[in-house]
Symmetry: D3
Amino acid sequence: MGMLVTVYRKEHFNAAHRLYNPTWDDAKNKEVFGLCNNPNFHGHNYDLVVKVKGPVDPDTGYVINLKTLSTIIKAEVLDRYDHHNLNMDTDEFNPEKGGLIPTAENISVIIWQRLRKHLQENLQLTVILYETERNFVEYSGD
Amino acid sequence: MGMLVTVYRKEHFNAAHRLYNPTWDDAKNKEVFGLCNNPNFHGHNYDLVVKVKGPVDPDTGYVINLKTLSTIIKAEVLDRYDHHNLNMDTDEFNPEKGGLIPTAENISVIIWQRLRKHLQENLQLTVILYETERNFVEYSGD
Amino acid sequence: MGMLVTVYRKEHFNAAHRLYNPTWDDAKNKEVFGLCNNPNFHGHNYDLVVKVKGPVDPDTGYVINLKTLSTIIKAEVLDRYDHHNLNMDTDEFNPEKGGLIPTAENISVIIWQRLRKHLQENLQLTVILYETERNFVEYSGD
Amino acid sequence: MGMLVTVYRKEHFNAAHRLYNPTWDDAKNKEVFGLCNNPNFHGHNYDLVVKVKGPVDPDTGYVINLKTLSTIIKAEVLDRYDHHNLNMDTDEFNPEKGGLIPTAENISVIIWQRLRKHLQENLQLTVILYETERNFVEYSGD
Amino acid sequence: MGMLVTVYRKEHFNAAHRLYNPTWDDAKNKEVFGLCNNPNFHGHNYDLVVKVKGPVDPDTGYVINLKTLSTIIKAEVLDRYDHHNLNMDTDEFNPEKGGLIPTAENISVIIWQRLRKHLQENLQLTVILYETERNFVEYSGD
Amino acid sequence: MGMLVTVYRKEHFNAAHRLYNPTWDDAKNKEVFGLCNNPNFHGHNYDLVVKVKGPVDPDTGYVINLKTLSTIIKAEVLDRYDHHNLNMDTDEFNPEKGGLIPTAENISVIIWQRLRKHLQENLQLTVILYETERNFVEYSGD
């Protein structure tokens, strides 16, 4: 078995979203979410870094072929979220249909779950999501 | 009179938008604007660089006090567009109300016009707008 | 209880400093600290990344509201160090008053201590401090 | 003669400075320069981009050998300003000795003058100086 | 006719190259080109920024559809140079076959020529090529 | 003993390489390595971040003097790989001489081994290697 190395792949998508909790009234939503609560949505250039730790295959020198990883990210994340409205175009981020509030935290958890099922069990997965250059999050399945 | 120096100030806003031309049918809109035509909007972290060229004031060593410039940008651009939907929350980018299509090109022109009126006549103004790290535009009033 | 996610907030301050150990003579100070020992100070644009790991609150989708975190960082770090001389304007980095030498390592430890007391016990805190793009440090309370 | 191409070289220095006009009282200095007026100095990581436009030499494929340009920048700028206090360690930025106020504007003008004399007459020189990522200036000798 | 706006598109390619002038002996080549003269080649991640200035089309809000521009850059530049050896895999940068020395200057000129023929005459073209973060060049057809 | 802090130093080198497994035929090499298999090599600007965790020395405020660390990195990595062809100019990355395939994973492992022997035993070492902005790896000795 090869040495344990971590590989990272950075991808990108642009999306609109809005933060609100449908069980709260407008005043409480505004107080908690501030400008992010704007009813007509706003948007971000999301930078997504996918991190996979595992043994290096001595035949390829790869932990995982990044082309394979890229294909999985495209199918599970980019095709679904890029140039979309997270609240309106998906169920998982529509709080009125039982979805999660599309904070960076929750988006990273959902992306982790969507990618996890495609990776071999001996690989550890972490998702890092930049909402802006100054606000970002990380989720490792804990 | 002082030497002619150019000063730059970088600011930031996040907004949702959608590209479409209301005089075209859906097929033509989709063909020209592709993913950017998504009816439920998508969004961006816009980086805005404002560039002002003029003489250095020998008393201050400044072309323009960047705090003053920042205050103008905040009032004219950030307070108006940050965490908003350009199509729905403004008239200037609502093509159905006679506004312009909110492409980066048109946004840079409108921002230039909004800032120009606050600057002394001897100062030259350029607006650079990053829609993404890879797509950006520049307008100098030509 | 929610899933464990890490959130990051990036802030910025500009400060002057000088590295020297008052128990050493000039020659030894110069040998160890080189240019950083310049008696008239030099300075940096410090980038500060504050990292907080904890459970996601299902009502807000947040680990911690980044506005709250920003307010704490402003009060404890930016208001105190931004546009100041670390050696002359503070006691904690004045080695002649028993303070620490203001290396990036020591600054990260002091910032960690100043922030730690404001966070709930179940949150883990890490401070990352960039002195330049090429020299940076990280402290997690170990 | 070769085609006209512009080459850029990016360098870096760290320095302390303070903005004040010795002909004004403290209140006026504070009002104009704000935090930058702090009497004990603050500092920056200055990024310096030197831009030279001229014909490509067909024998080398170079406008100017960047190693030569680097050596000039080191001698004229880095050795003089890096890890120094602009106000205290130089005369040109000590307003009490008739020097200029060390704003980014004035620093770019002085650097331009120091570099200009080393370049052949047919080369056009521009100096771009980043005081922070968000505040920067450019001077071309106008 | 619309207002004159400049649009930028950033692309990327990785290539190997070697600088040498076949009319010189080894000593002179080493003296002029230094490490870049290594006979077994070295390589770079080239960042390419293509800049097009022209009138905004009022029907689309575009100077040029960036998808069209991207397709041209892919066909003329990326498919030809990405993951290739500029000296061995092309004639234009093989000095022994009468090609140019593959300095950043010469590469920018050739890329400009390859792109120019695909653009309408009323559009002005500039090519910016980053060989590293610290060394870059610009060519506008002069 | 001081507190445990992690320090990071970022360095840079440019190199050519080619991915292939000499025990496979051409078709299999092309299938697995794609464009990276180009027989004439391609190249990268490698960014290298070296991360060292250990106690802060109370006399210096340093975990390790970054000048010392830089000197080690220069001798072991930059002097050996910068402006070289990893496959042709070294044995460790020449698969035909029993070397490893020069993937980012394998390069990070070799760099880790070359640096590890120069550091005191109580220091933990991690190597992060950026092949491009979007593809990077990390190795900690596991």
